[in-house]
């Protein structure tokens, strides 16, 4: 914890003691409204830091009364305490360590549930971010994500999602670890050659973060099993499939099951990623009404891929998936991000919902699963 600046800072224990002792003391939360909404210390009043000089007189009309300020970790509240000092307040103090330290001591808050002490340590760098915080981290721990493929894209995505504390990760992969995978599929290892990728992924992810429940589904997605697999309560799907029939199948199913899909695809030096959020943004068929003819659809096994490329695209997918779970920021809905590893450049293009889309359009013409292999071969 930060050193207590004489006179202007108190640690959580001293602040709590002061508040208990002095009924006239005022406790002011100087964070933003979003952070406040995520939980605060009982008895506090919210006055965001930038409004503090104008509004302090409302909550603390007497400049000689004790005023205790807090924020997330104590930086903003210290600035606030200095500002109050300049305004002539005699006893403003900032609670060092902020609400993060307060909660870690098990002191009361309006949060109905809090992180366990070891979780607070593990996820401390998340808890410090206003957009995540204690509430966001609890949300991640309650989130279920399904990864299609534990290969190039699935590897980095799964590693970062598990590290981030996404509570349940499903891994759909029916393949086994091959030597040619290890140039990029960082979930696996030389010692696991020949092992099912789903099992190998589970071992790696569980070792990384035992908080995460890893559900292995050692199957290839088909029209017959996809409804059962998607019905298991997934909040987000991360698509790292390696073929068009699976991608179109997954698209149709995700629209019908209303689950957002974080899409990624890669080839040689180039990758693409976007978010398909059913009925809010376009779907895969709005973007690509038809797959290319088979001779223009080489797999990485046929055409190759730079090993680090799935690291970039899969990590971007994890970023989008975490944002969807947290409800933070601006996800790639309706935006396709193109990455070129040779020029190291990103390009963004717009994708619009197609009102005539056969699956998510206004008058859908495809309402049940089709023969996806035939659909993708018939070009």
């Amino acid at each position: 914890m930060a050193q207590v600046e004489h006179g202007l800072e108190l640690d959580a224990a001293a602040a709590r003691e002061l508040l208990d002792r002095d009924d006239g003391a005022v406790l002011v939360d100087v964070r933003g409204e979003d952070e406040w909404a995520g939980g605060y210390i009982p008895g506090a009043v919210l006055v965001p830091l930038r409004e503090l000089p104008e509004r302090i007189a409302e909550v603390a009309p007497d400049r000689s009364q004790n005023v205790v300020l807090y924020c997330a970790v104590g930086a903003r509240s210290l600035r606030g305490a200095r500002a109050l000092q300049e305004l002539g307040y005699e006893r403003p103090v900032s609670m060092s360590g902020g609400i993060v330290d307060w909660l870690s001591r098990g002191y009361p808050s309006t949060l109905e549930r809090t992180l366990e002490p070891d979780q607070r340590e593990r996820y401390s760098r998340h808890v410090l971010i206003p957009e995540v915080g204690e509430v966001g981290q609890l949300k991640l721990l309650d989130t279920s994500m399904l990864l299609i493929g534990a290969g190039g894209l699935g590897s980095p995505a799964a590693l970062y999602l598990a590290a981030a504390g996404v509570g349940r990760l499903g891994i759909v992969d029916d393949d086994v670890v091959d030597e040619s995978n290890l140039q990029r599929q960082v979930l696996h290892s030389t010692a696991r050659l020949g092992e099912p990728k789903a099992d190998s992924a589970k071992r790696t992810l569980t070792e990384l973060n035992p908080d995460v429940e890893v559900v292995t589904i050692e199957e290839r997605l088909t029209s017959d099993n996809i409804d059962t697999i998607l019905a298991a309560g997934w909040d987000v799907i991360v698509d790292g499939a390696d073929n068009f029939p699976t991608r179109y199948l997954l698209n149709d199913a995700s629209v019908w099951h209303d689950i957002p899909v974080v899409h990624g695809s890669i080839y040689r030096f180039e990758g693409q990623t976007t978010v398909f959020k059913p009925h809010e943004g376009p779907c895969y068929r709005c973007l690509f009404p038809q797959p290319p003819p088979p001779e223009l659809a080489p797999s990485c096994a046929e055409g190759g891929v730079l090993g680090v490329l799935p690291g970039v695209i899969g990590s971007l997918q994890a970023n989008e998936a975490l944002k969807l779970a947290l409800g933070a920021g601006n996800p790639l809905v309706g935006r396709l991000l193109l990455f070129d590893a040779l020029s190291t450049s990103f390009t963004e293009v717009a994708i619009r919902r197609d009102p005539d889309c056969p699956v998510c359009g206004d008058s859908p013409t495809i309402t049940e699963y089709i023969d996806y292999v035939e659909f993708c071969a018939a070009r």
Binding site: I148, G149, G151, G152, L153, G154, D239, G240, A241, D242, N243, F244, R247, G264, S265, I266, Y267, R268, F269, E270, Q272, L287, F288, P289, Q290, P291, P292, P293, L296, A297, P298, S299, C300, A301, G303, V305, P310, L338, L342, T347, E348, V349, A350, I351, R352, R379
Partner: protein
């Protein structure tokens, strides 16, 4: 001149070029000029006089299907992106 970006799977039909420059005020004019230099590419990306359904064409970051199709205006310094779907997640 307008730059036209060729996706990796279509580069064999464009002598391996990643980007080619072409003149024209509409997508049709620009792609016609590219097609004259690379007839195999033209055969790939055109279907019955229109852009084949598997190829997306972007000008200024917008899909020409949501603009004026082949008649979409192309500024002199614009980039035209040809983009078919890619399957790989491997």
């Amino acid at each position: 001149m307008t730059m036209v970006r060729i996706p990796p799977t279509l580069r064999p039909d464009a002598e391996g070029q990643r980007e080619v420059s072409a003149a024209g005020t509409t997508v049709r004019e620009v792609l016609n000029e590219v097609g004259e230099r690379f007839p195999r590419l033209r055969a790939r990306i055109f279907e019955n006089g229109n852009i084949a359904a598997f190829v997306n064409v972007y000008v200024g970051g917008e899909d020409i299907r949501t603009q004026d199709g082949l008649e979409t205006r192309v500024a002199d310094d614009a980039t035209v992106i040809l983009l078919p779907a890619m399957a790989g997640g491997c």
